[in-house]
Symmetry: C2
Subunit: 338 residues, 2 copies
């Protein structure tokens, strides 16, 4: 559909726009790149590219600006001949290393590193809690009639919750309850446990064992998680980008909404292996219509354990962003598997 020369020009235009954030004109291209073509020729090519929907003009007599389709072409090109600037990645990785020792902070640290190096928004989130595997569950009595439930998951992050017991339970009872829960449920994912709980409830009725009833009850309540964690870093740099200004409010709202962000990450990263890129209107949510998203999943024990990525303006530096997200994902995967 496009000959090689046309592709090169398109690539150059997208690249220029990413760097300058100004509509790029025909003369600029001839000066900056050595195609050995006159501006007039470039103009002809540009007209073609506009016709095909890769470029757009903000107004007559302005230069051209990439459309989402233009970016898409650019990104697809990148993945071919892109090995990323090693020198840069070096510093990025060494910064990531700092987060390794602290399993708690691994995700947050990665998100922060990502945002600091890209100046976009850094994101990290473990998979929907339903898929995490329960490693251990512990119960302590707390205050008069509360129970503190601590869930250790295989994926690293601990979750805790304080729930109301309704009555005072002796340490011994608690221990027996937690022993029972551990024996029954550890090693299963939260989703599986939910299923088992339902079965358990019918069996329990037959047994009429008050201890088990209590245990099941506690477990049920402990598994109703709050929104779920997500780490979002780099807000201030991101919000200061000249690209939005007008829509700041709306965008800030979307970013602040953790449910929204989690859903987004989940939808995008769910099944794909490497980093995937969503450009502008390719995004499922309209709040994101002039933002782009680069996400990758990380794994643990062969299973997808969560996702990590960046959000930037559509004219983001995809080359770097992709390299960074990929590196970060590999890094986390590796850190988790030690």
């Amino acid at each position: 559909m496009l000959n090689e020369r046309t592709e090169k020009v398109l690539f150059a235009i997208v690249e220029s726009f990413i760097n300058t954030n100004e509509p790029v004109g025909s003369r600029f291209i001839t000066k900056t790149y050595s195609f050995n073509l006159s501006p007039a020729t470039i103009r002809n090519i540009m007209a073609d590219l506009e016709e095909f929907g890769f470029l757009a003009q903000p107004h007559t007599s302005a230069g051209r600006v990439p459309t989402d389709r233009g970016y898409r072409f650019y990104v697809d090109c990148l993945s071919r001949y892109h090995e990323a600037e090693d020198a840069f990645l070096e510093s990025f990785i060494s910064r990531l290393e700092a987060t390794r020792e602290d399993l708690n902070g691994l995700l947050e640290g990665s998100a922060r590193t990502l945002s600091e190096h890209s100046r976009y928004l850094g994101l990290a989130a473990p998979m929907k809690s339903g898929r995490t595997t329960l490693n251990r569950i512990e119960l302590f009595s707390y205050r008069a009639d509360y129970i503190a439930v601590v869930l250790l998951t295989d994926e690293g992050p601990i979750k805790h919750k304080i729930i109301r017991a309704g009555q005072r339970l002796s340490p011994k009872t608690l221990r027996r309850i937690s022993d029972y829960l551990n024996q029954e449920f550890s090693g299963y994912t939260v989703d599986e446990i939910r299923l088992k709980l339902i079965k358990e409830m019918s069996r329990e009725k037959a047994l009429c064992d008050i201890l088990i009833t209590k245990a099941v009850e506690i477990c049920r309540e402990a598994l109703t998680f709050p929104p779920g964690e997500i780490y979002v870093c780099g807000f201030s740099d991101f919000i200061g980008l000249p690209d939005f200004s007008s829509r700041i409010r709306e965008i800030a709202g979307a970013i602040e909404d953790k449910h929204f962000m989690l859903k987004l990450l989940e939808q995008v990263g769910a099944e794909v292996e490497g980093p995937s890129v969503l450009i502008g209107s390719e995004n499922p949510a309209k709040e994101m219509k002039d933002l782009s998203l680069v996400v990758s999943t990380y794994k643990q024990g062969g299973k997808i354990a969560g996702s990590i990525g960046v959000i930037g303006p559509t004219r983001m530096d995809y080359s770097r962003a992709i390299a960074m997200v990929q590196t970060a994902a590999r890094f986390i995967t590796e850190a988790l598997s030690r």
Copy 2:
């Protein structure tokens, strides 16, 4: 210094500016309030107020705008004859009630309620972790050579941390270590424990008890907390306020910096009882120079346990804000003491 009429005019001007966010002129005042004075008289009064530093003019022929000193006067007036609109507070309190059941989410819920009702930034933070009282400490082995430490505090929030043990410890050893730690340290504040640890370290050397050595080591590491929690809600509404636009970047940066915010809350709320108000340049930090802060502390068991408040533009609705912060603080205090 100011006669009663002058004070009333000043009050009216500040109030008008808070409502309209426009420099207020003499005619506007005569129309809106019934002082039965001509614009000319109001102008004279305004000139006096400007001379005293309560008002300022953005430029000749603009109306007057309150200075920080003007706001200060206004706020001091408020505290005299202000009981707040009960109808509004009613809905606020009922919204707060929803957060009561969940001790985990109490602070976050309050911050969110605060921000939703004020449209400013809602803040909540427990006191510097040094002052929290350790209720219980629990250890589990996790993975090969990690230990998950769970600290239950009297104040409600649980803290957890995963630390590297350096070697595999049997459940039995762990239990003995945690028994020892609980026996020695529960009931003390984190600061006190740090002190005790130092003493312990010298004693331990004498005893040469490898178990105690290990215990002390673990405890030391577990007590080095990350930044500390702070809940900040309502970013998007706040950032959308017309007052900043230009300084968004700087302000967003300050807000995102948790260390900064914690320090701010601590400095301000530290010792005072009721809600305290810092207006514009009264703030210790220059990033906050055209923001105002309304903070109050909440208590638990008679001790100050943390602070809660809102941040808004200097022209914020102080009357409402103060009432809300006060109510929220009382609410939390009450919820914690049940």
